[in-house]
Subunit: 99 residues, 2 copies
DNA sequence: ATGACACTTCAATCGTGATCGAACTGTCGA
DNA sequence: TCGACAGTTCGATCACGATTGAAGTGTCAT
């Protein structure tokens, strides 16, 4: 079995669906640009209520696109190291040969 | 006016939403691999009824991701030349400086 | 000119995922 | 230990896009 497990098609679509949602798109973009940010910093960027933001952050977490760590009262979110690569590979136009 | 207009954020999300749908994802992937294909060739790949396929093809057409041309009874679909590039740029993790 | 074929369009229904409101957990300061 | 703060979770509702079924184009062969 390969050390690197290929993303299945359904995973690819799920990943793209995650990125296609406005709130999550902005979160990912902001994290990609700023590195690590706590939820309170993401809130104005996302432009939604805390519970809605939390809902989307959970989705991103469960997909492994972001990681979270508590720092006192706050919780910091960071883009997963392989997030960009996984998203690129999820595009239907990315040729399968090029990893 | 520029021949190439920058993709707005909302366009980026719309583009990703198009690619995130299973039927359209397969269409795009197949066209990216095979070049040009008529609807009857896409039908088994998409795995849906003709009218549903048509619905999705229309969405891709209106987004400029594919082009269509009638050839006798058949209609050929081709991936737009800039489709792959536009999709890559639509990812929230693609840095804005690199075009 | 008529029927078969290849595909599109339209109106109506259905499902899924995003949002809302409220309650809950965990952390810190006074 | 009490209250305020930072986030999360939960159940219910809503909205929107995908599907369905049927009717409508356009093209070719006979």
């Amino acid at each position: 079995m390969p050390t690197w497990s290929p993303e299945r098609e359904s995973d690819a679509m799920a990943l793209l669906a995650l990125a296609a949602e406005p709130v999550r798109w902005r979160i990912l973009q902001s994290l990609a640009a700023a590195g690590t940010q706590c939820v309170c910093e993401l809130e104005p960027i996302a432009g939604v209520a805390p519970n809605v933001l939390s809902y989307h952050l959970k989705a991103l977490r469960e997909a492994g696109l972001v990681t979270s760590a508590r720092r006192g009262r706050w919780i910091d979110y960071t883009l997963a190291p392989d997030a960009a690569e996984r998203l690129e590979r999820a595009l239907p136009t990315s040729l399968p040969g090029s990893r």
